[in-house]
Amino acid sequence: MTTSSTPLNATLTAYDLWKCYGDSAVVQGINFVLEPGEIVGLLGPNGAGKTTTVGMLYGSVVPSRGFVQFGPWQMPVQGRQARTHMGIVTQEDNLDPDFTVFENLTHFAHHYRIWGQTARQRAGELLDLVNLQDKGKYQIDELSGGMKRRLVLARALLNHPRLVFLDEPTTGLDPDARQDFWRLVLHLKSEGCGVLLTTHYMDEAQRLCDRILLMQQGKVIDEGKPLDLIARVVGREVAEVEGIAPEKLQALADQFGVWTRPFGNATLVTLPLEQPDTLWQQIEALHPLRLARRQANLEDVFLRLTGTLLE
């Protein structure tokens, strides 16, 4: 699927990307590398600067400082050449309502200099891939939200891209539709395509991403592999405690040298890696109204690092 006639070093590198609007800096010094076949996630709440960052990566936002290198091309100056090998799924569905599902693909292929039988064949392949093979003659407004997102993805794959940007691809989709979409993202990875995913769903990031950059207020506040990040920042397990004064739990946490934090009606307490049951039993002995023990996740990481929750 990602075969290309010329070998291309499809590594994407962002060098010190800044974006300022007037006095406010919405992206502040982002650096990272995305290798082929890797899924990198930009995870952060709404307004963290994820979409602006993605815009700078494919050339629709001009950085105030810094630049992006993709293969031999530098963005945004050589954006057009770079986009020949990129696929972009924007946050909004900008499918062409003037065309049918099939025409949305064949007509868009024209911009990549793919036309005629080649375009029709490619459109057919992609409709099969995204499971819309029966919907070719449909109008865009006859598609469900999930189908539209899959069609936008298919459109982004017309040119056999080496790198795909997915900006909040599953926002507003039901669980089934999200699963369908995830399957496609993993398929891209298996084909050696690099994927940059922005999301504010921690389960999505945890499930799909090889590496995560946690963003807040335009900055990367931490990064790493999802499980490493969780283990390093939070630990392995977390207890959710309700009905016990946070001060009491804080004292207990200090004793064990672990992190605790009130959140909503409950208080989170990290269980130590060594002998987690000892602390657990002590919490149980306090007879809380509700007590739950679960795996630590990226939400906890975010809460610990920023003091806030992902929306």
Binding site: S60, P76, N94, D96, F99, H110, Y112
Partner: protein, 262 residues
């Protein structure tokens, strides 16, 4: 320099964007062909044949011509004006703000200039189709000679480029689609009625004559009436159309660019 490179156009890119608009047009060509054919026929019948018994002949540049003959080039100019302006203003506004077609195109290997020129040339194409079809109606009615029409094609294209660019400028200027009505009432309708399309401008009061003469549709109408003779200042009219086209296209690009790239 880097900005110039970033926005540089390629022939394929411009063509591909134009081609996208053409595909939309082609799928509903019958509907699209109707207004540019029916409008001039209605106008020619209503004004030409309806008003001719009242008006009789018209004195234009010391020549006597029949009223339908006089208004036929005006009809061509109006066809050019309406179709190119409305495509540039309404359709581009919709593609920019509702359908997000521009944004989608910019995810392909296309530059801003590719998309801008593609839209502009498409608006000009629609104006040219309308002008030419109107001209053909005039030819069939015996009001404009076919060789004259063929020689007028460059003028039709130039006028379409100018009013298409004006439409795009409006699309870039307004925030809501209803606001397009403002330039329609302030510029398009006055041009449509006062620029020597339905009557010679010298019947107007002097001040109004001056204003109407400066509006670009006056220059286009005067030039399209070349088979009946040209005013002495005609090279300036042509120059004015060319300059106005360049200025308007530049203004349009400057208004639309910040809507897509921040």
């Amino acid at each position: 320099m880097s900005v110039v490179k970033r926005v540089a156009a390629t022939p394929w890119g411009v063509y591909s964007v134009w081609w996208r608009h053409f595909q939309v047009y082609r799928s509903t060509w019958l509907v699209n062909f109707l207004p540019p054919i029916s409008e001039p026929i209605i106008y020619l019948v209503a004004f030409g044949y309806g008003l001719t018994p009242l008006i009789g002949d018209v004195l234009y540049l010391d020549q006597t011509v029949s009223y339908p003959q006089f208004i036929a080039p005006g009809m061509i100019a109006i066809g050019v004006l309406f179709q190119s302006f409305f495509e540039g203003a309404y359709s581009s506004f919709i593609r920019l703000n509702f359908q997000k077609t521009w944004q989608a195109l910019l995810t392909a290997p296309l530059s801003f200039t590719d998309v801008f020129l593609g839209d502009w040339l498409w608006a000009a194409t629609k104006g040219s189709i309308a002008g030419t079809l109107t001209g053909l109606v005039a030819v069939v009615a015996g009001l404009y000679a076919l060789p004259h029409l063929l020689l007028s094609l460059p003028l039709i294209v130039l006028g379409s480029l100018l009013f298409g660019a004006f439409g795009l400028f409006v699309a870039g200027l307004v925030r809501k689609v209803d606001q397009v009505n403002v330039p329609i009432f302030l510029v398009i309708i006055p041009m449509f009625t006062l620029c020597g399309t339905y009557f010679p401008r010298d019947t107007l009061p002097r001040v109004l004559q001056g204003i109407a003469g400066v509006l670009p549709l006056a220059a286009l109408t005067d030039l399209l009436r070349w088979p009946m003779g040209l005013p002495t200042w005609w090279p300036f009219s042509l120059l004015w159309l060319l300059v106005a086209t360049v200025i308007m296209a530049r203004l349009a690009a400057l208004r639309i660019y910040p809507k897509l790239f921040s």
